[in-house]
Subunit: 365 residues, 2 copies
């Protein structure tokens, strides 16, 4: 949209304009949320699952594609897709959420992909476990981090890069870490990382490296660009706490029907059942509460059991729309570790991990 | 986002603020373009195909779903999905584009789904021809329009409605009009109209009614809300020319790689081949031109033959990036009827049919 670089988002500061810029619109139109009515599906239909692509979706040919495994391993090697698919196969339902989900609700609003809540989805991911591959290759005792490199290439914060994220050694060796080639029973679509991506259950989406082309074990904590960018805290200098596992969160399916343009929800008077999903990285959901009055009073929702450890859990609660006019529904979850979804956003310069309670305004008629 | 209705988009006027409002962001995040690098695929992967959903994606059960056929027919009836699937089956590659594609480039900007160019896609749609169904039911000679009703329900411009669009009788009887249940070889995903949608090749997307639940023949031109809203011209009062077939258009795959936030394209010095697609409703593409200097000079692109009459055609043209700095690439198409993609946008109050030449700014280094 601009002839010169950089125009916005150069890391120099925050944008205090509550309106949105055309560059942010460009991102908002390329990437997309799960439309919240899509929370009704246990497994998100592939095309409804949120996507965030930092650069371009790369053009890769599965037939000629290769994965290299190197760095601090005894036996560096490459894999074709067929070689990986000949290994043991596992399918896991996993909830993925973008760490920036809800960023656009912050004030002042950090300039980046301007997510309103919904950058989430749950799919059945099929692949082969990573840990045995690393073990067979002879992962060195000196390996501290394992770096995953994608084929997507771009410029970000002034740094030209292939997208790269690392996992601590123990996470790379997690039994549920997968090299995945299928989603919901079909080969990965290009925007979801075809032909191969990492799935590391429990982590925010930035860790599930797409278009995976290289895995390298290194002897020090990885300090690439994406590890400086995905940080909590009040500054953009890469010194904040790293973003890792998904924070506890619930969202609801907005009741009633929308006005096309204002997205205001119109709801009939009477009894309703509000349904939604809740999730937390590496923890089950212990409780979901619903408020029909903006958070003044709460009732406990019925929460489905955590049958799949890495997938969201359904919940439902009654709500009686007894008075015409504007109402604010709010839901919040608590996980098994006792973490509670906060009522207000915790502001950070990068807009990460805003898991504030989900608020939906409705108009009862 | 608002407790009261309506806040914006009430039809009372145009928004002259060049920035975007949170309600528009909500739409931009729910709906999505084909990321333009996705123009590389002859058939758009399902999840990359543009989507525009006016209200909510409805929850429909294919097993119990029924289509009713009524109005001015001799034998009204209903169909189950299995009954439709037992009829003759056809698969057609069809390009669909939203009539509002490129709306956000207009100034002043009509408030609606704020599309930047890319609300397009080409899929292989599988279904059964509609014309024999209407003929077998005994379509009356008095039938002027055939109305298609979807299961999606909402409020728009103050009118509560199920989404409805009609086709003139001759278009409903077009041999390539399909009742489609599959896209790219798989059952429709919910956001693309599952279990059944209309495909009417050549028309802008609003005519391809999703979540189809009823077809009714009527004896006068249909004047439902969506027929007043999808209009060309300077007013929002429903008096403009109706939006029907897709206007001629080309788009290019942006060369080089992007900056994450500004989306500025960085391109290497030297020889490039620029590729893209071009389409026009019910007309083949006769010519595509590329300019490397913002439209001052043009060269003719090589255009692939129109093998599938309703699908876009590929094109390619050389471009030599000989000078570092900012450049503007522009492409424009001409169809077999002589319609040419204009260099500038034709403004309309609804922002429909902005098929202006596609401009991509790049930075050569």
């Amino acid at each position: 949209m601009n002839g010169d670089l950089p125009v916005v988002g150069d890391g120099s500061g925050l944008e205090r304009d509550p309106h949105l810029h055309v560059e942010e619109l460009h991102l908002a139109l390329r990437n997309h949320v799960l439309p919240l009515e899509g929370l009704r599906y246990d497994l998100t239909p592939t095309g409804m699952h949120y996507t965030l692509v930092h650069y371009d979706v790369p053009a890769l040919d599965a037939a000629s594609w290769q994965l290299s495994l190197g760095g601090l391993v005894g036996a560096p090697r490459t894999f074709t897709l067929a070689q990986l698919q000949a290994r043991p196969v596992r399918t896991l339902p996993v909830t993925l959420e973008c760490a920036g989900d809800g960023r656009a609700l912050l004030s002042p609003r950090p300039i980046s992909q301007p997510w309103l809540p919904g950058a989430v989805g749950t799919a059945a991911w099929t692949g082969t476990p990573l840990a045995p591959i690393l073990a067979e290759a002879g992962l060195s005792d000196r390996a501290v981090d394992v770096v995953f490199t994608g084929a997507d290439h771009g410029l970000e914060g002034g740094v030209e890069q292939d997208y790269q994220r690392a996992l601590p050694r123990a996470e790379a060796m997690h039994p549920d870490a997968l090299l995945a080639w299928a989603m919901n029973g079909a080969p990965l679509e290009p925007q979801h990382g075809a032909p191969l991506r990492l799935i590391i259950p429990g982590w925010y989406g930035m860790a599930h490296v797409k278009w995976l082309r290289a895995i390298d074990a290194i002897d020090a904590p990885f300090d690439g660009y994406q590890h400086l960018a995905y940080r909590y805290g009040p500054t953009r200098d890469g010194t904040g706490e790293p973003v890792t596992l998904m924070r506890v969160r619930s969202m609801m399916i907005p009741p009633g029907f929308p006005d096309f343009l204002t997205r205001t929800r119109v709801v009939a008077r009477g009894a309703h059942v509000i349904e939604g999903r809740a999730w937390s990285g590496r923890a089950a959901i212990a409780r979901v509460e619903l408020s029909g009055d903006g958070g003044a009073t709460w009732i406990d929702a019925e929460v489905a059991p955590a049958d799949a450890p890495h997938a969201w859990q359904g919940w439902r609660a009654p709500w009686h729309a007894d008075r015409p006019g504007a109402h604010e529904l709010v839901c919040r979850a608590t996980d098994a570790r006792g973490a509670v979804q906060p009522l207000d956003a915790a502001w950070g310069a990068r807009g990460m991990g805003n898991n504030m309670a989900h608020r939906v305004r409705v108009l009862v008629r």
